[in-house]
Assembly symmetry: C2
Homo-oligomer: 299 residues x 2
Amino acid sequence: MKDIVIHECGLRDGLQAEARTVPTETKLGWIGALESSGVDIIQVGSFVHPEKVPQMADTDALFRTLTERGAGKAVFSGLVLNEKGLERGLACGVGMFCLGVSASETHSRKNTGMGTEEAQRRIIATAKRAVELGKRVQVSVQSAFGCGFEGRIPEERVLSIVKAYLEAGLTNISLADTAGHAYPEQVRRLFGALFELSSDIQCTCHFHDTYGLGMANVYAALEAGVTTFETAFGGLGGCPFTKVAAGNVPTEDVVHSLKRRGQCQGIDLGALIGLARDVSGHFGRELPGRVYKTGPLSY
Amino acid sequence: MKDIVIHECGLRDGLQAEARTVPTETKLGWIGALESSGVDIIQVGSFVHPEKVPQMADTDALFRTLTERGAGKAVFSGLVLNEKGLERGLACGVGMFCLGVSASETHSRKNTGMGTEEAQRRIIATAKRAVELGKRVQVSVQSAFGCGFEGRIPEERVLSIVKAYLEAGLTNISLADTAGHAYPEQVRRLFGALFELSSDIQCTCHFHDTYGLGMANVYAALEAGVTTFETAFGGLGGCPFTKVAAGNVPTEDVVHSLKRRGQCQGIDLGALIGLARDVSGHFGRELPGRVYKTGPLSY
């Protein structure tokens, strides 16, 4: 069994669709809970313009506080959308820079104001600069499995972006199912194609549960050899710039399932369940996650 | 791709945990919707004592009405717990008799008042009598993947019940994940073992989504070669005599996913979505199913 890396995206992908802005102090408490759970990477926020996603306005402040507090075991990642975002991230101590290009022309324009080609050129240049500065970088293909606006996304379009990443020396690559259209056969096929492109590639997956296949896709990705999973506490989430998105796969449900395979043994599931309950309480509603409601299996 | 059989259990496994009894006329409307959707088998109810599960008190009356109305394409199944239930079912025109034994001693006693061994002896005798009378019969192993009371269920115990079924000439066999403990590796392993026992065996699976793995288990069963799926509209359900059960896998989510594989082409997904919306409206709450809320993918 390979080691699994959990990249917790609740504070970014989970919160950006919420109407109510979460106070910085509350976010810091949630980050503390995530750190004590032992998850590997914690996505703290996005360097988007505060007017576009007010929920992310305190991203720089959060990173500054975490940097001042000093390093624990977890890596703190931040989503960067452009050159300006990289500068902001460099100034406040981001541990891992996440950048992405949407394989959907329509989604790319709605999300960034640029088409896929222009976005790809700029994102690759920005990512290369971060690498040159010695930073840890992950690049992603958003809407890799389908798009709420465009429907089917040709797999060649996804592979073309991945090839451009690899040619630029960017080998840490995530395929994101932004709209939740992925299905298991497709997940196995597409990640299989990625692993054939390069033996250096490190693959990450990111699934939303729009049509009920989030966890089935996690298993398909596992079978394909993917070892890094982007998840969100309680299954919170959904991109505000796509159509009919549902929550991310819930961190605690993924960890609960992986523990039964003998993986994620270093993660404290109880801490994740407690956090999902706190987040549910904060928003005053039930979240999609199962295990924080049922409790874990005891055997 | 093998043909898939959908066995709709919403009227039985879906309703038996509900506090509010559904009027017989409403049930008949839902049965009509299921018939027009083209699902293969519709489980109408359970021949349990009405005091034990009041929701099922009109099972005989429902079958009589359906029998008088004459046959459509769908098969109407009924769950039978004992000899008395078989007599009731024979008297009102059941099309397929479903009988089961729990692999969990504790669950068996809570559900039927008998231990697994006694239940197995009586259920097999009752099932054989139905077969001798020329009736279509399905036998199941409940709690086949784990039990809310006992935890792990040894696979040998499940296989021992299955072997007893096969020795009695009962080859239509369902493994039911009553408590929702199943995980994909286990599903593949256990159904793989069943297919090795006999080339005559027809396997059915039945999953609950307690820990978020319902759909992942459906895919694992598909990969193992299972072709009959027990599901419930909207993902309703949960056994009242087990611990922490959640709903069944939602019929419309399963059909939506299978259609993307080129299966279930004869089923009208729109009719299933309309029904799940009606059932949600009837109970005045959101059900676990995804696709009835999001609508289907249009490509």
